[in-house]
């Protein structure tokens, strides 16, 4: 305790000095000294302050750049997400439009129909067939026609399961369709696919006059396929001089390899 009191002597002296200084400060006696000290150190302080502000600014700028980079990354991600969402919406819109056209056509013809989504494609390279998400449960049977848009035939059902079905597209080499050309003679023929690449109509009598842009439709000779479904337009005559029949290349009306929604026409009395 004694030691503490002995040690406190200096502190008491200093406190007394401070009290004196406070008194002198408030009566203004040491104001000139205070002002001089501030004046002497102010240039140095100004430099130090400027340095502090500069360092602070650099730090702030770095921080702002970091924030901007982060925001940019975030926005880029958002753009990607929106692009994907937009693309999905566009696809859905296309499907809805396609679906509506097909429904309108079916309603106009009075035929039974099942609208189906394409869920896959046959992986074999030499085969042009698609898999749809409707099957025998919905009344679909083999040989029923697949149409798209307002009455354009794109294929025929080749195999049916309970809730899915496989359809051969008209450009498949195995595809055969009874058809007629909408010319003056109403020429009949058979539309066959060519290796998934194109279509042609064969067995048109040689003396029938056919020309480019004549429309080729289904003839209605097949029990499951109604007359009048559009197949395509004649793009080129391929007749040979000594042949009994004419052949012509057909340009399909739709892109057959990019179907997403199709309608299967149902023939109620067909077994």
């Amino acid at each position: 305790m004694f030691k503490f009191l002995r040690q406190s002597r200096l502190s008491l002296i200093l406190l007394a000095v401070v009290v004196l200084l406070i008194f002198l400060h408030y009566i203004g006696a040491i104001r000139p000294i205070e002002n001089s000290i501030i004046k002497v150190f102010s240039p140095i302080q100004n430099q130090v302050y400027s340095l502090g502000v500069k360092i602070n600014n650099i730090y702030s700028n770095l921080s702002v750049s970091r924030d901007l980079a982060q925001e940019n990354r975030k926005l880029a991600e958002e753009v990607n997400q929106l692009t994907v969402a937009n693309s999905q919406l566009k696809t859905q819109l296309q499907e809805i439009q396609e679906f509506k056209i097909q429904q309108d056509f079916v309603a106009a013809t009075g035929l039974g129909a099942v609208t189906a989504k394409v869920i896959g494609k046959n992986p074999e390279s030499n085969s042009q067939s698609i898999i749809i998400n409707k099957g025998s449960d919905q009344g679909i049977k083999v040989d029923f026609p697949l149409i798209t848009a307002d009455g354009i035939i794109v294929g025929k059902i080749s195999r049916v399961k309970a809730s899915s079905a496989e359809a051969i597209l008209i450009n498949d080499s195995r595809s055969r369709l009874a058809a007629l050309v909408q010319n003056e003679a109403g020429s009949k023929g058979v539309v066959v696919g060519e290796h998934g690449l194109s279509l042609k109509i064969e067995l048109i009598p040689n003396n029938d006059l056919i020309k480019e842009n004549d429309v080729v439709i289904t003839s209605g000779l097949e029990p499951t396929i109604p007359r009048g479904l559009v197949i395509g337009k004649i793009s080129r005559i391929l007749s040979e001089p000594n042949s009994f029949f004419q052949t012509a290349a057909i340009r399909p009306q739709v892109k057959i390899d990019s179907l997403t929604i199709v309608t299967v026409l149902i023939s109620p009395n067909y077994d």
Binding site: K3, F4, Q7, S8, L10, S11, L14, L15, V17, V18, V19, L21, I22, H25, Y26, E34, I37, I38, F41, I44, Q45, N46, V48, Y49, L51, G52, V53, I55, N56
Partner: protein
């Protein structure tokens, strides 16, 4: 004489850094009190008298730029030195790093408390104006924590730069060092 000049020069440099450099930063860095940290360090590690002189010099320098009523900072610093010396002599007698940290924290909190009380007292006597800031509690408790960091930096800088602490403190040493010292 040279020692006094060196101390004065160091005091001014430290004061300028505190007043003109640290204040350009955002809180809580701007609330760092280098003078207080050094005064506590000097009182505990070097000696009581040196702590008192630095409290007086540093306090007076800060008074010129402080928004507090004249004298509050200096008196608070001197009283903190007295308090720390008392605690050091009676409770934290071993000069360990942990003692320094505890005394540093108590000193910083007490300093804030003293500034608050003296500010209020002086304003009651009409010697100036005193008000509590919007972030009062933030400014009351953050600086002690930050001052501890400053104290730790000062301590380890001193520990590395001098052998004095190595003689005072208990520390993990090799057998060779122990043999050499005793």
């Amino acid at each position: 004489m040279i020692k006094i000049l060196v101390n004065l020069f160091s005091l001014v440099i430290l004061g300028i850094i505190q007043v003109s450099f640290l204040t350009t930063w955002l809180p809580p860095i701007s609330s760092l009190n280098l003078i207080l940290s050094l005064v506590i360090f000097l009182t505990v590690i070097i000696n009581y008298q040196k702590g008192l002189w630095w409290a007086l010099g540093g306090g007076l320098f800060l008074e010129f730029y402080s928004g507090l009523n004249f004298g509050v900072t200096t008196i608070s610093l001197i009283l903190i030195v007295v308090e720390i010396n008392f605690l050091f002599n009676n409770f934290f007698t071993n000069r360990s790093f942990y003692s320094l940290m505890i005394l540093g924290f108590l000193g910083s909190v007490s300093y804030n408390l003293l500034v608050l009380i003296l500010g209020l007292v002086t304003s009651i006597f009409g010697l100036g104006y005193f008000s509590l800031g919007v972030n009062f509690w933030f400014e009351f408790f953050w600086p002690p924590v930050l001052n501890l960091i400053v104290l730790a930096i000062i301590f380890f800088s001193y520990y590395i730069s001098t052998v004095r602490l190595k003689n005072i403190f208990l520390f993990h040493s090799t057998g060779y060092e122990t043999k050499g010292k005793f």
